[in-house]
Symmetry: C2
Subunit: 268 residues, 2 copies
Amino acid sequence: MRDAALPIDDRGLAYGDGLFETVLVRNGQPMLWNYHMARLEDGIERLSLPRPNFKAFDALPAQCGPGLKVLKLMVTRGSGGRGYRPPEAAGLRWRWTASTFQPTSQRWFEGVDVRCCELRLGIQPRLAGIKHLARLENVLARQEWQDDSIAEGLLCDSQDYLVEATAMNLVWSRQGRLETPLLDHSGVKGTLLSALDDAIDLHWVRERLDTLLEADAAWLINSVQGVWPIRRLVDSAGCVLKQWSLESNDTFRHAAHRQLGYPLNLGD
Amino acid sequence: MRDAALPIDDRGLAYGDGLFETVLVRNGQPMLWNYHMARLEDGIERLSLPRPNFKAFDALPAQCGPGLKVLKLMVTRGSGGRGYRPPEAAGLRWRWTASTFQPTSQRWFEGVDVRCCELRLGIQPRLAGIKHLARLENVLARQEWQDDSIAEGLLCDSQDYLVEATAMNLVWSRQGRLETPLLDHSGVKGTLLSALDDAIDLHWVRERLDTLLEADAAWLINSVQGVWPIRRLVDSAGCVLKQWSLESNDTFRHAAHRQLGYPLNLGD
């Protein structure tokens, strides 16, 4: 149901017992739809949620209307159960909204400043990769800074391995290789990252911050915002850890923006 | 507002961005109310939620009606913000419900069988102790078994240290000392546990399962169910790891049940 309220006993609200997807939709056409539905299906299996009628979801993008929109689809285990124990015959509950969206396009070409967060993500392989509703770590991390000149915050896990940014994935280039952090311990596996993994040669690595500082270039990406090259990385006190020039970033942005229908070059 | 629905953009639903308390209420009188409000206040500070009018909460137990009830109070950061970033002028949103409650009293005297969960809790000091809404780990852990003869599941963290059960705290007696796991890395600090910590000599320890197996007695406790002595501990395959006799458990149950107005002895 579109925009409909949720009962107070909904398990999505009570425990974060559900999943969501945010999909870029251009004139009723969803971007990376198969990747969004694949991640949703993976999450449904891993949480043992009731299986929905995916055909009903397929009809949603066309209902978003003209222009650029973000479709948010949320599924929860519904109501019931005894405490944390899920109900035996649960029905999946789902809701969706569509919002007008305007990407911050100057970030594609001018890059962004990024801060290292103090919060360390807990290691939880059972939840890693999927986009579940229990995202309080991300909220706490995003609360660490108010300075609007900082676009994103970089997150490591409790063993200090790089994971992601608060709402984006991280990719860097090092010695001619494109590398991205493994997302099997924590973090969300973004759909743009998955699509790029199928399209180009991407290496999944478990590395700490010192490796990122050796990179020739670094980017934050997601399926709604596109690609933001990192211009400057600062620590939590604001001290600059690394500056990158933005000269040689075009190939990676081209590959990613082709997936989203975003401009490849400034002025396109 | 009692029982009222939540809008789809509520941040409690979207991200688990909120807190809850479940309070035992007897004929309109709340048990351990000050401890529940203290934990809620601690959570509000640690999540930087807007401060509520606690006096409005104080009026709720009397509205629960006669008999034994569980009052569930839920607070969220409300709607708004840009993604994970909280809105600048958020208003706390709160809801409550009251349900008739009947404790499983035979467990107080006959004890329970408990299973070791396979899931390991992520280590997250920023969220440890408070009762936030992002409890998907507990849901996954509670899904591990369906056998109704198993009352609870024991949880360790990703470093294999004992933490709690899915919905209760753990206390054991060893060499004449009452010990309970430190809750500064993960887990929820139960209000009955906090009240006992003020009333009796309780030692906070970081120990693994092998220490529990050396205990002379062990209990699961919470402020709604009271005290369940552990009779048998099994591993995730159902093999018995330890059996305890229930002879010498009276003193601890007495101390805890006095806090809740529950019977001290069978037949009381």
